[in-house]
Amino acid sequence: MAAITRDEVIKRVGRGDKLERIDLKGLDLSKAKLVKGSFERADLDGANLEAADLSQASMRRATLREAYLVGANLAGVNLENADLEGAKLERANLAGANLTRANLEGANLTNANLAGAQLSYAQLAGAKLGRANLANAVMTHAELDEAYLGAVAAPGARLNNTSLAGANLEEAKLAGAILDEATLSRANARGVDFTRTSLVKTNLSGADLTNADLTGADLRYATFARAQLAGARLTGAKAAGLIGTGLPLGAGAVEVIWLDLSPAGDGSQRVENGVLPAVLMTGAVAASAPPGGESRRRYFGRGDVLRNAALQFDAGAQIEIDSLFQDCTIQLGDDTELVIGPSGVLADCEIVGAGNVTIHGKFFEKKSPGIVGLRELHVSGKGAVVAAVTQNPERTRFEFETGCQLRVKIVPTGAPTDKR
């Protein structure tokens, strides 16, 4: 039960009173004029604010769980740290709003206008943002796992370090947006417009990029392991250090005339024609190897434990693992040497890239194929491997010693992988 009536709220806002920490739970404030109202820490859970005018209102740390804000004008509102879990915000105008660290989990923002809004560190897991306007919005470090962003318009938006794992971005317009170091693993990015989008170090593992337009995109050091690229357009993309799909591309499946492999992304190392499928399948890490090619050694000792990590080792690196790795992705550059020592256990992991791997310990894949594109795989007499192995386009060289334990499916390049 709300502490005061609808008329009293409108009257007090009109007077410029502060309604901080007030209980307005479940109150009907539909179509109310509440411009510049002060509702900091107010409780508006379940309130009806349909078509209300809350533009320029101050609502920091307010709770609006399951509130009904369809068609509301929230332009320039300050909702920093507000709790909007499950709120209905369809067609709401949130242009220029401050939603930094707001909780919008499961909120419905279909067709909402979020142009220029601040959403850094906002929680938007499972939120519905279909056809929303996110032009120039700032969403750095926001969490959007499993969110629906179908057909959103987000030109110039800043999505660095956002987590979009399993999100649906079908037909989204992200031209010129910045998604550096974002996670789009398993995302549905079919038909997305990524033209000139910055995707530096972005994780696109397992993403569906069918018919996506990546023309001129900056894909340096991005990971495409198991990504689907059928019908994608990639001409002019910057691809130095890119980790390839490890999957067959299919004849004519990708539209690409040239790629830029220069580490600086300045167009000085264009590659064309025959090289392109190899770059997209097995990666372009070699192109980003440091001058001089000096090798770097890494040792992960016995007793160490590493979980949920993505590790990338450039061409020429030498790595030995005697530790426990769980849920890790290891990306190897060309001719990188990886040795899993006798004490090493890689559980629920994947190894991707044109490296050479020796296994004295144990490797268990998480998803099939768990080993993609290796040049050499050597399993010693003490080694054990449970994985599907997709071969390198030039065929992986296998060596198995007597005594090894194997549950291995070998998939040649060009064959579809078996989903376990």
Binding site: R298, V305, Q318, S343, T396, T402, L406
Partner: protein
């Protein structure tokens, strides 16, 4: 493989140029320089570089420098030739190396089931126990067990 002279005792020989379709059950080793298609059972089968074996193979020991296809069940398997698509190899032990002539094993889409099924839970438990062991109890990594790759930095 020194094909004909590889076995000094009695053996069944399928010569180069011979193609055999059907079931072969032998109490002596089989040497295949030609082609066999069908079910094969015996103590041992040796497939020469010119040989092709396709079908269900049940033997104690299999050694192949030629081409294999089908389902192979054996105690010990040694391969240095080609393995065709849809081949399954079930073995207690498998040795697969580059031949003395530098030929590499070429795989189609195939499945290898070798030795006991690796136990993930036990492996994680052992590695976790190692993590709980005080650092001074951790032994120095066994240098001799490494065939290639990096050497760890000296401890201490």
């Amino acid at each position: 493989m020194n094909d004909k002279n590889a076995l000094t005792g009695k053996h069944t020989l399928v010569e180069e140029g011979t193609e055999l379709t059907g079931t072969i059950k032998s109490s002596v080793p089989i040497v295949v320089m030609g082609k066999i298609e069908g079910d094969i059972a015996g103590p041992e089968i040796r497939v020469a570089a010119t040989g092709v074996v396709a079908g269900n193979v049940k033997v104690q020991r299999l050694r192949s420098e030629g081409e294999l296809a089908g389902v192979v069940e054996a105690e010990a398997v040694q391969i240095s030739g080609r393995v065709r698509d849809r081949t399954v190899i079930r073995a207690r032990t498998l040795e697969m190396t580059v031949t003395s002539q530098g030929m590499e094993v070429q795989f189609g889409a195939c499945e290898l089931q070798v030795g006991d099924e690796p136990n993930k839970a036990a492996a994680i438990a052992a590695a976790t126990a190692a993590a709980a062991t005080p650092p001074d109890a951790v032994r120095k990594p066994d240098e001799t067990s490494r065939k290639r790759g990096t050497q760890p930095p000296p401890l201490g």
